[in-house]
């Protein structure tokens, strides 16, 4: 196990704890950048899809993992991001401006939505956000002159300074573009985590009453969390719209919201790694299920018939298994395995067991 001897406060502020960590992340970056050369166009496309999911997931992760607010309706904000970005583009705004503007519009919408709604807690907040997701589908259909209704919108090819990032024509280019955006969002996320705002999020998550006593405006902090979260998710939604090429209300339906939640829980709540690991699961599991179904079909000769609800069923089962056996998600499991080997043979079974907290009965709300 590596022990870092801290000699400056900077040791707790900088992004990487020590040189070895920086080295591993640099290696990961090199692999990520080189990926299109190693993978074919098809797999590069799939990797792009995973990155887009990870961007949306980081948005939700910030909200749920950092500030402790539930949202079952983040697909609605993906939709706002996608529609506002594409509509701006069709009004002549270049993509490089339309994308952040789309994100900002989504962020403002999220912040305004949060002001009344975050007065609710727990299950009630979840239901309110669920309602947004349900309503958004209808709103998109009803606002046909703007959104194209059920026919949807066609996203133009992404073009930046004359370079075309078509999904099929320039698969690696699109991948690199989205990788760069994902890295920028990771940086922003890390910056929030290590600054007063990130600590205010944690304070609001763990004890609203004492956050107030520390001078934190709870309503405003929650709205800020929603705004930043929906900004990131809006960017992700806009990218997903472009990646899909054509999108309508179905592209951002309730299932997408649920997938996002699944993703961050399976990946590991409260960590950036969790968003990426969860995105890999969500991105590749449908393919894996299809492969497995075809494989089993050819062995047992039931052909390649579609089994309705199979995917949802498997997702649900995985989620339940994770909540029961590994609430900290894939990333939590990875940390445990790593610690086991770092401390070998001194790791103990109950190292990660947290002490129960007492005296929480007389809280004032």
């Amino acid at each position: 196990m590596r022990i870092v001897f801290k000699t400056t406060y900077e040791a707790d502020i900088r992004l990487f704890k020590h040189g070895a960590q920086a080295f591993w992340y640099a290696l990961l970056l090199i692999v990520a950048v080189a990926a299109p050369f190693l993978l074919g166009d098809f797999l590069t496309g799939e990797a792009t899809n995973v990155l887009i999911w990870a961007i949306c997931g980081m948005g939700l992760m910030l909200l749920v993992g950092q500030s402790g607010q539930a949202s079952l309706g983040h697909a609605a904000f993906m939709a706002i991001g996608a529609y506002s970005c594409v509509l701006l583009e069709s009004a002549g705004v270049p993509f490089i401006l339309a994308l952040p503007l789309g994100g900002i519009i989504t962020g403002i919408a999220g912040g305004l939505f949060a002001l009344p709604v975050t007065r609710l807690h727990g299950i009630y907040l979840a239901i309110a956000t669920l309602a947004v997701s349900v309503m958004m589908e209808d709103v998109i259909v009803l606002a046909e002159p703007l959104t194209g209704g059920v026919n949807g919108l066609i996203a133009p090819d992404i073009e930046i300074f004359g370079v075309n990032f078509n999904r099929y024509g320039n698969a690696s280019g699109l991948y690199w573009l989205i990788l760069a955006i994902a890295i920028l969002i990771v940086l922003a996320y890390r910056n929030i985590q290590r600054s007063p705002l990130g600590r205010a999020f944690a304070a609001v998550r763990d004890s609203e009453i004492s956050a107030q006593a520390m001078g934190i405006n709870v309503a405003r902090t929650k709205a800020t969390a929603f705004a930043i979260s929906t900004f990131m998710t809006g960017i992700g939604g806009a990218l997903m719209g472009h990646f899909a090429g054509v999108f309508n209300q179905e592209t951002f339906n309730l299932v997408i919201s649920i997938n996002l939640i699944l993703m961050i829980v399976i990946g590991g709540l409260g960590t950036i790694h969790g968003a990426f690991l969860g995105a890999v699961v969500i991105g590749f599991l449908p393919q894996a299920i299809a492969f497995a179904r075809d494989g089993l079909g050819s062995i047992f000769h039931f052909g390649s018939i579609a089994i309705p609800g199979l995917e949802t069923g498997i997702f649900g089962t995985i989620l339940i298994l994770f909540i029961l056996f590994e609430p900290l998600g894939i990333y939590g499991r990875w940390v445990k395995i790593r610690t086991y080997f770092e401390l070998f043979p001194f790791a103990r079974r109950d190292m990660f067991r947290r002490q129960k907290s007492y005296l929480k009965t007389e809280r004032i709300r």
Binding site: Y9, A188, I192
Partner: protein, 258 residues
């Protein structure tokens, strides 16, 4: 001018009068204690000063100005820090992060500069950290800096909460039962700290405490309450020997006879 003044404050929960026409003033530089049996209204008074409750009538003045028009989150900014009877720490954060939250009222960066983590934000972080380290040194919390609150024993949590309040660098510190649940040795530490908070840091302390040994050794003045009413105000000795206070704690002779 008194630092904190309560003027004829009354608070009712439905039909129950929790605090009944209580007035007292805390002078700058003193340690002032509220004592009384359970349900006397001590913590309720704290929660009114923190603006979690609004008095039914009366006024609360801090540095001569009414704080009744302030929201709960504006109180810390005025220079009033507090701890809670049941420890309200941020469970899933480290001791260091908890104490850094105490620096929130000194935050000068906004969310845009923090998003970019500009050099200014970095300098601010160093400044906050220095202030927190002073509190850590003062309370001997060095071994726990990186520990999550969720895994800490009760006694340490109590101290961390006091440290977080000190990180605010307040003018007035409200301590809600600082010694409850602590061992004799830990209570002695608390007594020393309160002395130093008063003498070295120059912070005025208002505390609720049941441990009369602690109260009589560190407090300058004591207000005894019972059933939301003011019973006696004076030095610890005066209050302890006051017949009304004795009656409130032990019951009167007549009651015994009946």
């Amino acid at each position: 001018m008194s630092l904190l003044e309560l003027k004829n404050v009354t608070l009712k929960f439905g039909g129950l009068t929790a605090v009944n026409d209580v007035s007292f003033a805390v002078e700058e530089g003193e340690v002032f204690a509220l004592v009384g049996p359970n349900g006397a209204g001590k913590s309720t008074i704290f929660n009114m000063i923190s603006r979690f409750y609004t008095p039914y009538s009366g006024d609360i003045l801090f540095e001569g100005k009414s704080i009744l028009n302030k929201a709960p989150h504006e109180i810390a900014g005025l220079g009033i820090a507090r701890t809670f009877q049941n420890i309200e720490l941020f469970e899933q954060a480290s001791v260091l992060q908890n104490m850094l939250v105490g620096r929130y009222t000194h935050r000068r960066s906004n969310f845009l500069t923090e998003l970019l983590f500009t050099p200014f934000v970095r300098r601010e972080e160093h400044r906050h950290r220095e202030a927190v380290e002073k509190a850590i040194d003062f309370l001997d919390l060095q071994p726990y800096r990186e520990k999550l609150i969720a895994g800490l024993p009760y006694g340490v949590r109590k101290v961390v909460e006091m440290g977080r309040a000190l990180a605010i660098q307040p003018k007035l510190l409200l301590l809600d039962e600082p010694a409850s649940g602590l061992s004799v040795e830990e209570t002695q530490d608390v007594a020393f700290w309160i002395e130093d908070i008063k003498k070295v840091m120059g912070i005025t302390v208002l505390m609720v405490e049941h441990d009369m040994h602690l109260v009589s050794s560190v407090c300058d003045r004591v207000l005894a309450l019972a059933d939301g009413k003011k019973l006696a105000l004076g030095t610890p000795r005066e209050v302890q020997t006051d017949p009304r206070v004795v009656e409130a704690y032990l019951g009167s002779d007549e009651e015994e006879a009946a």
